[in-house]
């Protein structure tokens, strides 16, 4: 049984009234895997997690934890532990009591609870905070208590529902690294919900991109980024410029039909196209590359590491991330080039 999955979702479905929040979702989380559900607001990430945790009942489909069906079990009989967005610590209990709670409910012997609580607090670097109340802790500390409280019961699967989204950026990055470290050290299985693609890319074994209740693609982060399965995945992950063009017998025009100076290495069939390139892959003054577009420089933004140059070609707007200054001023006509491998086209 060593190869059993920690969690299997089999064609899970849940509708609220007319809204299908979770639509035919199947995921197989192997032991020790860290799977992220990534998607825009309302795509059904939280609903999926709540189905797994037992806070909602599925309309159809099966949930198996360590190989056993659980979808008929109430939340308190499932071997899962959730880290909530707001922490949801018990305000009337100390940090130590909060962490001990799950152990007590699972009937762990009294003598074993104290050392396990201490160990869990050590792991999240909160040793010495045992006697504090949640109200006396900072937001980041509270989330670490929540993490300890869930991890200490060693559930078959940990469920994270945007645990970092209420924190400020630096704390978010720090805790993100910490969760990653804990996963590498302890090897727990987890489903992590987020709408922050950076988080998803940085922490996950696999990323499931969700859209209106369905999984559009589930794969390793590099694959999802490098080989997106659909236009939605491509545009949702990473930044991209969209070139809306009409092709007619080899000549290109913008959405209004005005001719633009666009050369493509591989000709496209006639019709309306959406071409996408990442702003970091667009290059300025490179008429020599396979594909190129003449566009007028509109304005410049300074982003810190790079400058972002905004261009216009007819109705098409695009931006190029480039390190350092360029020799053009707003209004100049500039050659922008990119390699064929860096472009995708959808119609």
């Amino acid at each position: 049984m060593a190869d059993t999955s920690a969690l299997e979702l089999d064609r899970l479905r849940r509708a609220f009234g007319g809204v299908v929040a979770v639509d035919d979702v199947s995921i197989d989380v192997k032991r020790g895997e860290f799977v992220t559900l990534l998607g825009p607001s309302g795509s059904g990430k939280t609903s999926t997690l709540r189905l797994i945790g037992g806070f909602e009942k599925p309309d159809a489909g099966a949930i198996r934890i360590n190989g056993g069906r659980v979808d008929h079990l109430p939340a308190y009989q499932r071997d899962t532990a959730t880290i909530f967005q707001t922490g949801a610590l018990f305000p009337h209990k100390t940090v130590a009591e909060n962490v001990a709670y799950g152990l007590r409910m699972r009937g762990v012997a009294r003598a074993d609870i104290a050392p396990r609580v201490r160990q869990a607090l050590d792991i999240v670097r909160l040793a010495g905070f045992e006697e504090r109340y949640p109200a006396q802790m900072s937001g980041g500390q509270k989330q670490r208590v929540a993490l300890a409280r869930s991890m200490v019961v060693r559930p078959a699967i940990l469920l994270f529902d945007e645990p970092l989204s209420a924190l400020d950026l630096s704390l978010r990055l720090q805790l993100r690294a910490e969760i990653k470290r804990l996963h590498d050290e302890i090897g727990f299985s987890a489903i992590y919900v987020t709408h922050d693609q950076g988080e998803a890319m940085a922490m996950s074994s696999r990323v499931a991109v969700m859209r209106s209740g369905r999984i559009e693609q589930i794969d390793r982060p590099e694959k999802v980024f490098g080989e997106p399965a659909s236009e939605f995945v491509y545009t949702f992950i990473g930044e991209s410029c969209c070139l809306k063009t009409q092709m007619a017998s080899g000549a290109a025009a913008d959405a209004d039909g005005a001719t633009i100076d666009l050369r493509l290495a591989n000709g496209l069939a006639d019709g309306d196209w959406r071409l996408y390139v990442r702003p970091s892959r667009l290059q300025i003054d490179r008429a020599d590359l396979d594909n190129r577009l003449k566009a007028r420089l509109d304005f410049t933004e300074f982003l810190g590491d790079v400058h972002r140059y905004h261009f216009k070609a007819g109705r098409i707007e695009l931006f190029v991330d480039h390190q350092g200054a360029i020799a053009h001023r707003p209004g100049d006509l500039v050659d922008i080039g990119w390699r064929s491998a860096d472009m995708v086209a959808y119609r």
Partner: protein, 302 residues
Amino acid sequence: MSGASETAALDSPAPRRTFWSAALMPWLLMSPALLIAIAFFGLPILFMGRMSFNAHIDQRFYVPDFTWDNYAAMLTDPTFRNAIWTTARLALISSIATVIIGYAFAMLVWLKPKRWRLAFVALALCPLLISEISIIFGWWMFFPKNGLLSYALVSSGLITDKISLMYTEFAAFVGLTYVTLPFCFFILLSIFDGIDKKVLEASADLGAAPLRTFHEVLLPLTKGGIAAAFAQSFIWAVGTYATPSALGPDTLWTIGYLIQEQMLGKHNWPRAAAFSIVLTVGVAIVMMIIRMLSSKRTALNG
């Protein structure tokens, strides 16, 4: 923690502000509330205390004097001792019932989706919009032999002969509970509203069955509210006179009844004042006990 309080202590006292103005500040800020409290609560009690030492001679309302007679009379008067017992029992039972019903009702409203809320709150407000006297008239149509209750019980087949519950201690108890329930409900609802519902899910998530969650999480978090709701129901039930005497049996002599009898029937103001003082002190003691019991650990201080 100590670091934070040290820095706070270092930069808080403005050097030019004198000790006196700093010490006076809280009092100044409280003064409007204090004035109102003194004018409307402190002075009347003071007057009442003074009145309780006056004498009652020749059917005059009172004669200025300083005597302990009124208090001494209470110790020997079995009617008064019985009244204390009756009042306490009635207030206790009806307050407990109020808190239990109010708690269940408030929890239900808190747990239900928001769209039900307005209807429930409006429902709870209704009794507050009707005067106590009108409510008593309502009960007069409800409890008697030909009243609604009897009719409902007979027609539902639960009993065969019509019954009257009018002028029973049960009717007094129901009436009192009904009067105190809305306040209790709103106090408890405000306490529930201060709780993050996610803690219930967190508790279930960690393996606690619903009853366990109630006992471990919900009850401790609402303890302060239960105490407050109980206290206010109890004060109300002890003090109110109209409802129990209108619905209860003629022999239901509460302290409230005795006070009105002394005041209006026997025109003995000093005796009525002494009864009132004892009642007030008794309630104050109960309040202090409730506070002591409930202040150990609540959502507010922990």
